[in-house]
Amino acid sequence: MSSVNSRHTPEVGDHLEALRDAVVEVAESSFFAFVDPCDAAHFAEIAEAVPSWLEAAVTFSGAFGGRLVCGLAEPLADELFASFLGLAPQGQPADVMLFDLVGELGNMICGSWLTRACQRRRFDLEHPEVVRTLPPLAPLDDVALRVAVNGQPLWIRLTFSEE
């Protein structure tokens, strides 16, 4: 993992390993879920039948600033909701609770990654914004990470603000 010690705008490519580690840590610790790497072809395959997506956007500032967006299949969000609260899978939770949970997922991934990336320096996270999107999924050419969580698709887009 590389550290970023200057005020130059960081490169997304320097953060992929820390980002992947953060997703794995959050999935395993809080959701008892398994994360597998996913190439573009396999991701397209598992994303094809997704009926809807939820996206959590978290704006961060501190040693460097930017925005992390975490998108995941809504059926995966339903599954993570149940495992987070220790409930049996029970269909679709209310939007207000599901969006809260997806926001917290994005918040934890962003915070876990920033703790690795910023090392000693503090950072601040804004309250997550969560939206539902319907297929077709926007092109993912610019995403930093594509993974399968419990066999379902999750992607992360990371952008840094100009210093």
């Binding site: 959050v26 809080s30 609260l85 949970l101 917290e104 876990s112 090392q119 503090r122 309250h127």
Partner: protein
Amino acid sequence: MGEMASNERTGRPLNILIVDDSAMMRAMIKRVTSLCGVAIGQVFEAGNGREAIAVLERESVDALFTDINMPVMSGTELLRAIENDGRWSQLLRVIISTDGSAARRAEADDLHVSRYVEKPFRPEAVRDVLSELSTHA
């Protein structure tokens, strides 16, 4: 889970205040406290620091679990307000936050925070903190 631990100093269950802008995170922490084997009394909830102060003003709270990044009033601002108010000098303070940076931990030390739990955390982390707090409350 093991036998119920007692609050060794007062002999009564711990009253807890959970402060987080995520209702789901509050629910998760509350659930862990109910399963942790420590005698818990009332569990209060607040969505930000300002709401937390309102709870502290009217309820008897032994331990505070707070997030840092929250709208309206952050966890750091809340802890600073508690530090500056003599009424809550005995309150046990725990941070549960995604920010595990050394700078933030040093800031927590200055605000007399007893324990620092990083999100994401395993339920055992909160259980261990509560077990320790119950012997110091």
